[in-house]
Symmetry: C2
Subunit: 396 residues, 2 copies
Amino acid sequence: MEPAPAVLLPFSRTEYALRLGKVRVEMDRRGLEMLICPDPSNMSWLTGYDGWSFYTPQAVVVTHDSDPVWWGRIQDANGAKRTVYMEHDHIHGFPDDHVMSTERHAYEHLVLVLRELGWDRRRTGVEMDNYYYSATSHRVLIDGLSDAEVVDATGLVNWQRGVKSLQELEYMRRAARIVERMHDTIRETIAPGVRKNDLVAEILRTAVRGTEEFGGDYAAIVPMLPTGVDASAPHLTWDDRQFETGQGTFFEIAGCHRRYHVPLSRTVFLGTPPAEIRTAERAVVEGLEAGLDKARAGNRVSDIATALYAALERHGVEKEGRCGYPIGLSYPPDWGERTISFRTTDHTILEPGMTFHFMPGLWMDTWGLEITESILITEQGPAETFCEYPRELFVK
Amino acid sequence: MEPAPAVLLPFSRTEYALRLGKVRVEMDRRGLEMLICPDPSNMSWLTGYDGWSFYTPQAVVVTHDSDPVWWGRIQDANGAKRTVYMEHDHIHGFPDDHVMSTERHAYEHLVLVLRELGWDRRRTGVEMDNYYYSATSHRVLIDGLSDAEVVDATGLVNWQRGVKSLQELEYMRRAARIVERMHDTIRETIAPGVRKNDLVAEILRTAVRGTEEFGGDYAAIVPMLPTGVDASAPHLTWDDRQFETGQGTFFEIAGCHRRYHVPLSRTVFLGTPPAEIRTAERAVVEGLEAGLDKARAGNRVSDIATALYAALERHGVEKEGRCGYPIGLSYPPDWGERTISFRTTDHTILEPGMTFHFMPGLWMDTWGLEITESILITEQGPAETFCEYPRELFVK
């Protein structure tokens, strides 16, 4: 039997220790003795864990007096042994008869593990508002931890992830190179008569090939590319109909490297765009410029949103709501970090090393336009864009 | 303003009416006056809704006295108008300030909608154990529906989806053609020195191109292709390292058309496979044959599992747990229907029109082998396989 090769961690052990330290400080501030994280991106950020296993229950458990514990399906415990930094005695798998069972629930097994570890009376935080933590999981957990106080800790870890390390920024810069190539592919390939799925095939191919130096990973969201009236809806994917002259299509896509995302949206019009779309283009480009100039360390997130909306309004374009969110490490179904929102009401202070998708999407009644930038807040001056890509409506 | 083009439903209105009827019968049996379905595949199966919007709260609400109601984020209400069969007054969007907010929760808005409709005192079922129904969503819902009895209805709709219609089978046969092409791509492309990501790029390209007659959709799971020792873990994805001689890699992939999946796994060995892997190959192929012969209408699911494990045991291969699950319409993170499990303890009776991924994966300490079949239970005789693909360890 050949010895298992060493785990190839994407970050240094020091970086994982720093992350754990930040989380423990916040746990301490909230009086938490234990934190249960079912969010796959938090699991990965804390331990290195990587795998498409989030469709069955799994979590990382953080305490003050032990390395993190990985818990999940027994067959995925093997995946944990291949990807996390902790010793194998910190990896616990629940038996396969707990999978998709109406008689046994996986969280009953987590309760047993916590009891064995003597952690079942601790003041516990859990990420209650997460895709991968169902109402039933919570019911089973609180029934099982009846001697523990269990409180909501949604976002506790996510907020620690906002400021990126140099290694994280390096991965994101690689993702930026990838998404630029994806847009090049779009511009080269799109034409009247081309089926949408055939264009997506080329986009995905470019995304995963990456460059000669580094490969691409799967993005947490598949390409979204609604055309014409469908572009009034932001989240439609694709079908096998052909592109036609006289229609606009926006492309909401991201490059991804080692689970780190850099989204970039652009819009393509086949034929001659109507005046209202040209007006919207000018408005959005000016809005981006105005927002970028406010995206400075020490300013508030709301300053960016306010600058964008003021610029849009000067062109008679009404837009409200969310126009950006933090980005980085993620798993499906979302590449955002789910903390800050670019809104006029979010007054979070911008810090150097924060990364965002600045995303002034316009979804009107009969068309849509997206020209966006992924940005890095720097020590001084306006935000740096991850991509160097023409900030325009592309007409072909 | 050009009029919106008609909604292109993937199924006839009659088929949607039959589906709704089945669900209502089961609701009635359980004494449910209202059913809240946040599962995206159930939402799509019931209404035609399609979009990558499940990362914010959304649901379809079924009652006995009204067409289904679609509820989700306001910008995705536009996507609902483009994809569902119901009239627009059955589509409700929550405002954007409920998105990723710590002050407002989207389910507060659903409660308001249900109150306006006069449905807030009804005996209600909700899919409590679903990816897209968090512990917090449930807490907000039951707080808001304080005059209603709210019970768990996880799986209620899923169980109605088991027997497929002719149109569903047609989509699955197309998905089967696609996954066969994906395996052809693997056999043509894989070689020592090829980077894993470059192979995945070609697999995804083939998957989405589909054929000249029909395009491919995104599968609910990305390709999983662990190599060597990593293949002891079933759910690892890929990186940018090169394939090497002397290693086996299994490919767990699915073709997808209009959200209908046909998974098919095969294993490739570069070089000369060790004897134990050849033994495992023979065991799995015989096990598949034995199981397929038992996969007949009127038999029990457990008959398939028992036949498989007996065949494996004859070759000295120990395996337990789940070896198959129902397939069809799905969204990430899972392409299974989450009802039946191929296990020796699941005695569900097989019915014509049921479709499964028969999946005897072997994940050993230092290697893994997957040779699987997607199957259709027919009126008479053994199950039909969706794919015609060599049932073998492919050596190159």
